[in-house]
Symmetry: C2
Subunit: 891 residues, 2 copies
């Protein structure tokens, strides 16, 4: 009962590793044979004409359905079976699955946290134990993380290279409907969990949020696969996608114990259109997961009850003064620039590493060297006895965050108070510098370190490091404010001092929001700190940071998507007003490769040679151009290959020999025989063509090479074989994705056998036979055809097209007009149009926002339009597209 | 440049008032004439054949575009114009619009709050001033609200009946793509604002949340309309829909000063699929609005700084014990049942009022009597000196809520403490009863009062009353717990007492979540109380409440949608596993009314008589059944009417007379002339049919009635006119939605004039002429055709169909197979299939969840299937659909 909704496959190769993905089309596609369909349809129509009111097909459907249910019900008849069914029905419930997922993820998260804490503890212990010798101390400080990072890089390299990095970009792509290979397997799960634990245990500025989204998704996929023993519902693809969306929420939720923020963050970073019916799933699973995650801490007596992870204790009665809002807004805007800079820096580092061929080649050979070198560099700089003392180097990420959210004003700590906090605040209150210097050095150093560290090939996220940097920046602003206004700004009766901790919270939310282009980091900080009293400053800062960052750079995840060359559709940004005025007809490709229903095999061959499209349009005829459906390139190749198959040639040979022999006996019956054969299977020879004299059946071709490709090059059968194999390697039929290479080999072998057995024609004869065959009309029975590809009209706006493409996860859509095919739009054209290389008006569509630039462009538009109009009257042969492109290049 | 995306129109009449809405199809539709199109297409193909590589159409497109831009650019040439353009570009920015919207809504919200507070103050003042005489007190207590409610009902009745009720159901429908008439006009805005102020000022248990969503949407629509003077972007429908979504968030956000909760709540209650790109819009506008709303309170010195509306002061260090969680879960489950009961009660009251014909007729005549009676009843019961003393009757909703969230434990107030709180807690601590009795009476009485009060025809919501009841229930449970465990549950060193106020918060979130089927009420309470420390109890309770309520009843808004018979698509609920197995072919209508491109006018007439469908499929021919597009019923009617138009008849008459006269002179040229005329306009006579002798041109029909309908009954021209007018009244062409009746009259008059002028044929002759005309092939030029209606395949699952319908806001979709039309699915079939009247397997698809019931059904399914199979072999003529329906009725 597979409706075969997975589709074409492409191989997009990034430089570091080759990604293979298959495009899954959400939109209706099924794989009924055309031949079967035609027969059914004919039968149906006949019945309908006989009976008048068309209840016959319904009856037929019903009986089919009943047969189907009987088939499934037959084995389970007894009482025990009924119990089993009850159990299966229960297991099939969404909530059972979600509880299981939440439970598993909470345990994973807790266990990992425990392991990471142990690793960090060990490092501290080593560092503390060796305090007699600075050199030993330094070696312990540097070597321990280097070993861990190298191990992490090694294990991911060996087990599953897909486990590298954050995982959110991949999940975004997967939820868009693209199937990334090996991304949701058990091996990747193991590699990611262990790799992440080691990477975070090293104390490097890396995060666990992104990887947790990936881990939760893998967990959901594995759970779904293992539960599919119980019921068919787990095999449903649509359901699995919905569960993956919930899993993303669980990932964030159990990482931060932030269920609401988790759901919202996962929606923002992974979806373009979000189904509200998935909403409760996310909340349910994330809440359960966060609950278990926090309950575990209570059970092992770590904490007395469930509270926030980074609990703050700001005063509730007067959280902030209205006159502090400009400072919060400043934090937002500065964090917006900072976030954009971080994304830019991160991308530049990746690109720099790739561009340096010599370094790159060396590093590619010794894959573990780059992570080790980076680790040595970063740990050396943070060595607490060295430079580290000016940047609170000895603190772990968690300790840093707890201190940054601290309720006290560091710059105003009295010597009397100091001894109380000496132990923990020592790191910031270095005797050789002051709080401000430490904070500035911390921010600057951690900024580039985090950008660098997130590029090393281990499982790691960037959210947490960015969050810490943001908090430090906020604290810096807060401390400055506290010095500036020692008694608070408010000049009424009461004195409310400024809370630098609150500034740190605002900064953390703003910078992480700017880097990820999300607003929900605001909710995450509320849940992390357990206080929502600063909601307005946080929201204002986050929104401003987003506005600035979105107008300058893509989000970190989109940046990684582009770096990894994953298939994507850019978002319509803050200001996308032009998109309403660009129409599909301005961006569509008019020269669509098509196959017509009445075409000859030669046309198939020509189309396969002339285009590289993975999907071809099927039209009624070249004159009417009425779109009937679409057919995959592989299917066309297979049709051609089947028709020119050596076995068929052999059969034709035998058939002709027999026909020759029988010819004298019953010459008059030949035409009847032919009529039957054309209605039969596709392997039956359609010998109604020219009648040629029979060749001696014993003649052998000298030697057939075993390699199909070489055979294709040497003799005439290659035309068919080549197209067959090309199709096989470039795009698999949807059913056989796993063991693709094996299958191709198998085919090759069987062909060789056939060749050995019966090929008794000379190459010239084969060529002649094939030329004959190519003149026959195509028999489309046996081909899988998508009977309702997505259609748009010419005047659909770019905005609407983007909506439909992202809603339905389309890869391409045909542009039709009254059933006639007039063009085609694929992701590529859409991407180009959105990213600004071409538009209808000859004006470059700008990257999101930059509204100041836009106003000047729209003012200049008029002139260029007038100019172009004049110019265009001279050069009527230029296409609008090309003209636009030239225009875009010139400006 | 209107792409004409608004479409068919239907008139769904609820009992209380007639709703007229137009279906807006999001999916591609444009209104190019078929004739123009065919000509263009032919020209294009010819050019393409001449030039080989098809760059001609592109050139044509470009020149079109350039003409278009010149047209727009022509008037603005100078420098001042450039400045104007810059200004317009700025005004066209999303953020300008959102800030304006947020500002206006904050001011509206604040002003309304002020007015409501004044009204309530006035009532208190009156009540307090008259405390010497109980009768006068009672009269003041009752009459004042009654006058206000009557005024509110009156103003809405007179100005805009659309302002009645919550507005969220209507907004949900509008955001689905249905255009409800008069719902977003200035009149409705005024009626809603004043009506709501009066209704809430009366002190009745009504809420302002739902109406605020509606008010914000109207505000956005009006703002958009008034800003459309500045730039064309405001005329874009897709953008306006996005802005409406943001407006809903603003509505909730500025009502509760809860930006995050507002965004989430508005997403949950209005959307099925949510575009993440709208997310920042909602956040931006809601945050700004909430900010201004709260800043206003600071500026007028009401408050010292911005804090939460209902600030709580629960302890942060130990918010709750793990062992209290069962109590929170109990609140959740109980609130789930309570929420379902509330929705049920509300619906029953509405239905009861409608069913009582005698009461109903009386009330319909005196529309203001029902609100007045309800108000008198409710205020009498809450009279503080009477029954009201047992239910805290003298408190306003806001005071009640503040007290319910109070930090102290009421049941443990010592006599010594009491005097401090005597003033405010007096209401609950009645000397004649105790806290528990008061709470129980409060909950029970307010429950039915709120359900009743929300049915009266004034602008009102149910969120706030439900929220208060939930808080009271939570407080009741909390107080009970406090009595049960006087020293807290925790038996470690510290004593942490139970906080009944926290239970109240949990209860409020749970009950309002259950009634509205939302999870985001959790976020709203965090923002309202300014504390997030109880996140886990709140989330657990809300999720459990949702699970219970969703399995029992639709949400309040969906319930109202059904009561009002608005076009809707039910949600796929918690457990919708069956939906994956039902396919489109099981639910589609196979007998689709269609028009074929080569049909005769008689076929058009037949199809108009035989079906009531608003949209007809256009196929290539009845044999091929290839779907070319869809055509509206009105268009078909217009085609037929035009063809049989009296003026055309007259022209034919004149033409024939002339032809007759010329016949002798140039008989040989006649065939050429005919050829020309068929290519001309549709009004030109196509006289290639039978040639009849010319009638005497002076003969007059005795008397033509002026009423077109009567004329249709009496003479033969009625066939055409009737179909024309039927079409005109049942479905308007998309352009003329406003002045529809006027236009119809105009047409009628002009026809009458024509009849008077030139109809000189006898009825019999007219009939004969029309019969002739009906035999001619249809000329589709001039008809508006949707060239790409949405298509599905037979094997699309119900789940996917639901997704696509709700994603694209479809009204119907054609089921095609290789271009051939095989069926059609409309909202009706889909709704039926989802709501459980028919499925593929003969098992009723259950209403969402009720998982315990389902397991028994699936166990019984096998038996019934076997039975049905046997039974079905006997009764082969029964359709599966009917069989299922019978099955459903029997079980």
């Amino acid at each position: 009962r597979s409706t075969g909704s997975t589709g074409t496959m492409a191989s997009g190769s990034a430089e570091q590793r080759a990604l293979q993905y298959e495009q899954t089309l959400m939109y209706g596609r099924y794989t009924q044979d055309l031949g079967t369909f035609a027969k059914d349809e004919a039968a149906r129509l006949r019945l309908q004409q006989e009976q008048g009111d068309g209840d016959a097909p319904r009856r037929r459907r019903l009986s089919e359905l009943l047969e189907h249910s009987q088939e499934r019900c037959a084995p389970c008849c007894g009482r025990s079976k009924r119990c089993q069914r009850f159990f299966i029905a229960k297991v099939g419930e969404d909530w059972v699955f979600l509880i299981l997922l939440g439970l598993v993820m909470a345990l994973v998260s807790w266990a990992m946290d425990f392991a990471i804490a142990s690793c960090l503890q060990a490092q501290k212990w080593m560092y503390g134990g060796l305090d007699t010798n600075v050199v030993l101390q330094y070696l312990a400080w540097v070597i321990y993380p280097t070993v861990l990072i190298t191990f992490s890089a090694g294990i991911t390299q060996i087990l599953a290279p897909q486990a590298v990095g954050s995982g959110i970009p991949e999940m975004k792509t997967i939820l868009r409907g693209v199937v990334l290979k090996e991304y949701l397997t058990f091996k990747t799960f193991v590699a990611k969990v262990f790799g992440l634990t080691c990477a975070l245990g090293s104390g490097m500025p890396l995060g666990k949020e992104g990887p947790f989204v990936h881990i939760a998704s893998m967990c959901a996929a594995l759970l779904s696969r293992s539960l599919s023993f119980f019921g068919g519902i787990y095999e449903n693809e649509a359901r699995n996608t919905e569960m993956l969306a919930a899993a993303c929420a669980v990932g964030v939720g159990c990482c931060f114990a932030a269920p609401i923020g988790g759901v919202l963050f996962s929606i923002e970073v992974t979806s373009t259109f979000f189904a509200v019916r998935n909403y409760w799933r996310g909340f349910f699973a994330a809440t359960f997961s966060a609950f278990i995650f926090r309950v575990l801490a209570v059970w092992i007596k770590d904490e007395e009850t469930i509270t926030a992870l980074f609990k703050t204790r700001f005063r509730l009665d007067f959280p902030f003064d209205l006159q502090e809002l400009p400072a919060f807004a400043f934090i937002g805007i500065a964090c917006g620039f900072g976030g954009a800079l971080f994304v830019y820096l991160n991308r530049k580092i990746v690109k720099f590493m790739r561009r340096q061929k010599t370094i790159n080649n060396f590093l590619m050979k010794k894959r573990l060297l780059f992570p080790a070198l980076v680790t040595v560099l970063i740990t050396s700089l943070t060595f607490p006895a060295g430079l580290g003392q000016f940047m609170a180097g000895q603190l772990t990420q968690k300790e840093t965050l707890v201190l940054l959210f601290d309720n006290r004003t560091w710059s105003k700590l009295e010597p009397g108070d100091e001894f109380e906090y000496m132990g923990i605040l020592e790191a910031w209150h270095n005797p050789r510098s002051n709080v401000f210097v430490t904070l500035v050095v911390f921010i600057l150093m951690k900024f580039w370190m985090s950008a660098l560290a997130t590029t090393i090939p281990v499982p790691c996220g960037a959210f947490m490091p960015v969050f810490v940097i943001g908090a430090a920046f906020g604290r810096l602003v807060g401390e400055t404010m506290a010095v500036w206004f020692p008694d608070g700004i408010h000049n009424d009766s009461n004195t409310y001092r400024i809370l630098p901790g609150a500034y740190a919270v605002v900064g953390a939310a703003a910078l992480s929001g700017a880097v990820t282009h999300t607003v929900s980091t605001a909710v995450i900080v509320f849940e992390l700190t357990g206080q929502i009293s600063h909601i307005l400053p946080v929201m204002i800062a986050v929104i401003l940071a987003n506005a600035v960052a979105q107008s300058l750079q893509p989000s970190l995840y989109d940046s990684i998507i582009r770096i990894k060359k994953l298939p994507y559709l850019p978002e319509l940004g803050w200001g996308h007003n032009e998109k309403y005025n660009v129409l599909v007809e301005d961006i569509m490709v008019r020269d669509v490769p098509y196959v017509s229903l009445n075409c000859k095999y030669r046309a198939l061959k020509r189309i396969l040679q002339s285009t590289k499209m993975k999907t071809l349009a099927l039209v009624e005829s070249a004159e009417s151009m009425i779109l009937l459906g679409s057919i995959e390139r592989a299917q066309v190749g297979a049709l051609l290959g089947q028709h020119l198959h050596p076995q068929r040639r052999l059969q034709a040979l035998q058939h002709k020999a027999q026909a020759m022999a029988d010819d004298e006996r019953r010459f008059s019956e030949a035409s009847v025989c032919i009529q039957v054969s054309t209605e039969g299977s596709s392997f039956a020879p359609a010998s109604s063509g020219s009648r040629k004299p029979l060749k001696p059946a014993l003649k052998r071709v000298p030697s057939i090479p075993t390699d199909g490709h070489q055979a294709g090059a040497s003799d005439g059968s290659g035309i068919a074989l080549k197209s067959l194999f090309c199709a096989n390697t470039s795009a698999e039929p949807p059913e056989a994705q796993g063991p693709a290479p094996r299958k191709a080999k198998h085919v090759r072998i069987s062909i060789t056998e056939d060749l050995d057995l019966g090929d008794r024609m000379t190459p010239a004869e084969i060529l002649e036979w094939e030329e004959q065959q190519l003149e026959q009309p195509v028999d489309f029975s046996g081909a899988q055809i998508d009977p309702a590809p997505f259609q748009l009209v010419e005047r659909t706006s770019l905005h609407k097209t983007h909506t439909i493409f992202s809603l339905l996860g389309l890869d391409h859509a045909y542009v039709t007009s009254l059933g006639r095919l007039v063009g085609m739009v694929s992701l590529k054209e859409l991407r180009k149009a959105i990213e600004g290389s071409l538009t209808a008006k000859g004006v470059k569509v700008l990257p999101p926002l930059a509204s100041f630039r836009r106003s000047s462009t729209s003012a200049g538009e008029m002139d260029t339009t007038d100019l172009r109009q004049l110019w265009d009257r001279h050069q009527h042969h230029l296409l609008p597209r090309e003209a636009c492109l030239e225009d875009g290049d010139a400006s």
